[in-house]
């Protein structure tokens, strides 16, 4: 059962154009957008980083993780723990530590989960994420079900994340770096081997590659990058709670990657923006008579997800390719 992919090893000119336009738009946006929308776009960029990190597993290596949010949330908690009550932490130290913590958790959990495959991998990643979720949910000293507040956002050398613009551009830089890092990775010998594992793990092993090591490295790296996104999320919202690690968060990330088209990183990037936009639109739907359309956003979101899976399992990017090229 091979997953339909939109492997655009080299991105078509149309996608490149969209990306360049999108990037210029993002660079210029704070000069024209209102405060509310700047925060919304920051949020979208953070989710894009999260979705791209999942694409490394889901699209490139072929491992469907239903527990990726655990590493996202963990980094947020690291920031919350390291933030003093009355002043901001330094993001120059907390950011790398948070990313390392998420990467380390992914390494330990990955040691167990990458031995499994298929259905087992899906369920086991989910179960481990739940384990972490309950660890934080049940323990008061870890914040419990209410979570933790970050009273003052991190700052360093005058770059204060309390300033919405600084946070915006820091997130944009992280988005940019993550995108180019992962695009380079696809073409590296490491990325080619991951691609081989996705297409045929036994054959890749027969060629002498230790697939366990490769998968574990990918899992760790994806966890660390999810941590980067989680750190930024916590820095933006000012609080963390167990829901960040929850099952819905993980499933949303999968949906973002699918919506854009997986396996080429650009799809995940576009899909995350698309997903968040849809979410925003559905929640803003008007009230018609007695019936509040916006209140029932889950119905529209659920229907959209079902529709995408039935009609366009290859996502938006999949539509760019002519039919006869499809697998």
């Amino acid at each position: 059962m091979n997953t339909p992919q939109t492997h655009l090893a080299s991105l078509p000119i149309s996608v490149k154009l969209i990306l360049v336009l999108g990037l210029s738009g993002l660079l210029a946006f704070p000069f024209v957008g209102q405060d509310f929308y700047i925060q919304m776009v920051t949020r979208m960029m953070i989710m894009s980083i999260f979705a791209m990190s999942l694409d490394l597993l889901q699209g490139i290596t072929g491992l469907v993780s239903l527990g990726h949010a655990a590493y996202f949330g963990l980094a947020g908690y690291v920031l919350a723990f390291m933030s003093p009550a009355d002043s901001g932490a330094s993001w120059l130290t907390t950011l790398p530590l948070a990313v390392l913590a998420s990467g380390f958790a992914a390494l330990v959990i990955g040691f167990f989960v990458v031995r499994t495959g298929g259905i087992y991998f899906i369920m086991v990643t989910m179960a481990f994420a739940q384990m972490i979720y309950y660890l934080f949910f049940d323990n008061k000293f870890l914040g419990g079900s209410d979570g933790l507040y970050i009273n003052v956002r991190p700052a360093v050398l005058g770059l204060d994340l309390e300033n919405k613009l600084v946070l915006y551009y820091l997130t944009l830089i992280c988005l940019f770096l993550t995108f180019f890092f992962l695009r380079r990775l696809i073409w590296s010998p490491f990325g080619r081997t991951l691609n081989g594992i996705r297409l045929n793990e036994h054959r890749t092993q027969a060629l002498g590659y230790n697939s366990f090591h490769y998968k574990l490295t990918a899992f760790t790296l994806a966890g660390a990058l999810a941590g980067l996104a989680g750190y930024l999320w916590a820095a933006q919202s000012g609080y963390v709670n167990p829901e960040l690690m929850g099952f819905h968060m993980s499933a949303h990330a999968i949906m973002m990657v699918i919506l854009g088209g997986m396996g080429n990183v650009a799809g995940a990037l576009i899909g995350a923006f698309g997903f968040e936009l849809f979410m925003h639109l559905f929640k803003e739907l008007p009230q018609i008579g007695e019936f509040d359309l916006g209140k029932h956003w889950q119905l529209w979101m659920g229907s959209l997800i079902v529709l995408v899976v039935i009609v366009a399992p290859q996502g938006l990017m999949g539509m760019l390719r002519p039919r006869h090229h499809n697998e």
């Binding site: 059962m1 091979n2 997953t3 339909p4 889901q58 469907v64 239903l66 167990f112 031995r115 499994t116 298929g118 259905i119 087992y120 899906i122 369920m123 086991v124 989910m126 179960a127 481990f128 739940q130 384990m131 309950y134 660890l135 949910f137 049940d138 323990n139 099952f247 499933a251 999968i254 949906m255 699918i258 029932h296 889950q298 119905l299 979101m301 659920g302 229907s303 959209l304 997800i305 079902v306 995408v308 899976v309 039935i310 399992p313």
Partner: protein
């Protein structure tokens, strides 16, 4: 922990384990035979509980609610399989995950439209609304014993169905090797519909039985769903015997964990799963 208390917890853990088995049995069969990851299985449990709430409100009788609710859930499973799930058996697991995740949203929102977002309680039947006094301070509600008995009977019935009847033989054949089963003339399409409807009905029945104990609330399916996944992973995909063993094991660990190690109780089950995976990566009873 004295003896009376220990016995109460033991009964609770068996009762919880058997409830998990009702849910996990359908899930593991749907996995094993159709190869479908069904995240919406917890929603069927939730739907069952809400049906029990709705029907006891109408007829004031849990028994009638159980009968009518089970029939409705069989029909629901039948229709869903024919219209939707059937087309996803050959699709990648990722598509199945997304489809069923989308369904969770749809089911939850429909629940919210029909019954609202409040927590509701369901009255236990009058005849069972009493307790057995154990010591001066300890007693055990009769409804729990009733539920234990029903779950045990259902588990026994399911075991008899799977291991002693011709239909059960077909189901086992389907779980073991689907192509071979088909080559031997088993109508696999009908078998799929049947197994799916049965799984939905068992999950809904679990929800209906639990309603008087735990009350009925939004998203009640999610937590149970994840527990069922753990049970299926520990037991081995497609193995009903494994699901029973694992469900009882999980029931024990979870119930006694909550008493002895309340801080880490919810984690213990997942640790158990990690241990099993470490030594038996395909579950305890992989066929």
């Amino acid at each position: 922990m004295d003896l009376a208390n220990f016995l109460i917890q033991l009964l609770n853990s068996v009762q919880y384990g058997l409830l998990l088995f009702l849910l996990a049995a359908g899930l593991t069969l749907i996995f094993g035979i159709m190869g479908v990851v069904n995240l919406a299985h917890g929603s069927f449990y939730m739907i069952g509980a809400y049906l029990a709430y709705a029907f006891t409100g109408v007829w004031n009788s849990l028994l009638w609610a159980l009968v009518v609710g089970t029939l409705i859930s069989i029909v629901l499973g039948w229709v869903l399989e024919k219209l939707l799930f059937r087309h996803f058996y050959q699709r990648p697991h990722l598509d199945q995950v997304l489809l069923t995740f989308g369904l969770i949203y749809i089911f939850e929102e429909m629940r919210s439209m029909i019954w609202g977002d409040d927590v509701h309680s369901v009255a236990a039947p009058e005849a069972l609304n009493w307790s057995i006094t154990l010591t001066d301070t300890l007693s055990y509600p009769a409804y729990r014993l009733f539920m234990l008995a029903i779950c045990a009977m259902l588990a026994l019935g399911l075991w008899l169905l799977i291991s002693k009847t011709k239909l059960g033989m077909k189901i086992r054949a389907g779980a073991f090797n689907i192509d071979m089963a088909q080559a031997l003339g088993i109508n696999i399409v009908r078998l799929h519909t049947l197994v799916f409807a049965m799984g939905v009905a068992l999950a809904a029945l679990g929800g209906m039985l639990v309603a008087p104990l735990s009350s009925v609330y939004p998203y009640m399916g999610s937590q149970v769903l994840i527990m069922c996944f753990v049970v299926v992973v520990i037991g081995g995909i497609g193995s009903v015997r494994g699901a029973l063993t694992a469900a009882l094991l999980v029931g024990l660990v979870d119930t006694f964990g909550k008493v002895l190690l309340p801080q880490f109780a919810s984690m213990l089950v997942y640790m158990l799963m990690a241990l099993v995976l470490l030594f038996k990566p395909e579950g305890l009873f992989k066929q």
